[in-house]
Symmetry: C2
Subunit: 369 residues, 2 copies
Amino acid sequence: MKATFVAEATDGSARAGVVHTARGQFATPCFMPVGTRGAVKHLSSADLEALDAQVVLANTYHLMLRPGADVVEKLGGLHRFADWDGHTLTDSGGYQIFSLEPKVDDEGALFKSTYDGSRHKLTPESAAEIQAQIGADIQMVLDVCPPLPSPRGVIETAVERTAAWAERGRAAFLAGPTVDRQHQFGIVQGGTDVDLRRRSAERTTAVDFDGYAIGGLSVGEDRSDTGPALAAVTELLPADQPRYFMGLGDPVGIVEAVARGVDMFDCVLPTRLARHGTMLTSTGRMNLTRAEFATSTDPIDPGTPDSPVARWSRGYLRHLLQVKEPTAPRLLTLHNLHWLFGFVADVRASIVAGQFDAFRQHVHGVWDA
Amino acid sequence: MKATFVAEATDGSARAGVVHTARGQFATPCFMPVGTRGAVKHLSSADLEALDAQVVLANTYHLMLRPGADVVEKLGGLHRFADWDGHTLTDSGGYQIFSLEPKVDDEGALFKSTYDGSRHKLTPESAAEIQAQIGADIQMVLDVCPPLPSPRGVIETAVERTAAWAERGRAAFLAGPTVDRQHQFGIVQGGTDVDLRRRSAERTTAVDFDGYAIGGLSVGEDRSDTGPALAAVTELLPADQPRYFMGLGDPVGIVEAVARGVDMFDCVLPTRLARHGTMLTSTGRMNLTRAEFATSTDPIDPGTPDSPVARWSRGYLRHLLQVKEPTAPRLLTLHNLHWLFGFVADVRASIVAGQFDAFRQHVHGVWDA
């Protein structure tokens, strides 16, 4: 097993650490914005540099169809493609494909392109190969993501198939050309069932990946159900490898997952909320479309004076949003990402200071309202 | 008459100069991008600063309806509103209104809002008042813009009404609160008829504005018709005040108008072209959507190495455009504006160097193809 994570401080199960990759390192807890088609919506790599983003996601499903993994490879791989020297991570494509009602068998998943209806098959082997072509620093193994909630039998089948695919995906990755410059993470499934989560964690860690993700816990689930399943997983994961909660990015969700030993997060929500005028602020969510902000000369969040949009008033930004000027989603995206990066930096600082529990309570106080 | 323009160099009728305002000064020839609703599409004032934009337009018609001139005023006026310390100019609203088939009489123009169908009236007096509220450095008098081509009688009536409105609009401006901090420009109409253009120029200059615009020459006209009408106007305009050709922004059009003594230009075309993937380059127009660029690692324009998007490949930018990522129109807009600002700087340099005719021929060689 390759040690890829060093904890610099812990507070209970919460960890402040560093993930080591072939490219270098990044600090955790870490929030990773989603650059679906090779760009975070409305932003460029220059913006991500200015925001001090550490890791940016890209979606294998989208890039394999447009422009094609071969085209990304010809253009120098994902980093050169987007001219981004920070870290990158690609999902396996599975999550999008399973939302398209694919035909799944033991071999893989057959699906139709949303772009042109053409038929494609993704297998554990081809997912590893395509992600090697795209060339992110971290690739994800192909897993089975059943819709949630599903009957226990469906979840159990998904856990078994995920485990079988993990072995095949890992073997393909290890035999591939990028083993020295990419990490590959396994994915633990199992719904909210603690026993199935444990079984999936054991089966997945037995394959020996470079890090582990928790899949299928963030979508359509009552959060009160997820804590035990999450804790059951993280206590079985190796301490010296990173843990990644897929699809989670709200402040309370992040502190609750960090409390159970998770290091990495991604979510489209902070950027999607921004595009619709919902701002993350030091006093909680703020709906910028409210009429009261029409003539406000205050900045979006007086508690975040270093926001990249602090120079513009709520009134101006609300106006741009209301008349659908594309400048608005861009500026509001910059704010939400800046805010969230600052938030996870605060989570990290609270762990280093041994004050994580107090910070966690503070977060609940602001965001549970 | 207030001297508001100083020619630093001339070459034939072409002028390289400086426009003086209450805010400061800007160099000419000058291209002014259009920030319709208080922002150039996809850009912020931070971007315009990075591009070294000198003057940005805003549309009175749009701002008076959304968010309302009173709201812009409450938020500190156009500069504070957009947090833009460069120069600004507002059109009168007439151009948009006349495209909506308004009811026009001697008093003003009655029109329906495109936002909610509500009815509004714009008069020469209210146009001056509303633009004073918005607070740009330069406001434009309300003129009559007949559709082109129109019968001579329609153009003649427009010239007469434009002259009458000019007197009323000027009187309202001079009696208003912003006479010390805004300029007001008159507008010459007259279609492509040299005699009507002369008459309009004489009637408009008799009112004594701070600068003069040429309206109604850029839309739907065969360019070969426009040279004589334009030259007839500029030779009647005061030498120590700026001349602004409304709605023109292509390289050949700019050098031809500069050759006839014009100083200022605005146009939505460079930014609109960008959003559709048509790039302005040192070798002419380039359609980025062409399949040949899919795997090109070259920058958009190797001849413009200081383009703000030079770090990204044609292949990457084309991909973002093809999959409709909003990052694409933003980056391509940055390129086209950077290119056009560089172009007018070259026009200026050629005048200062006494090489304008050679540069003008070079421009035709690149762009007439």
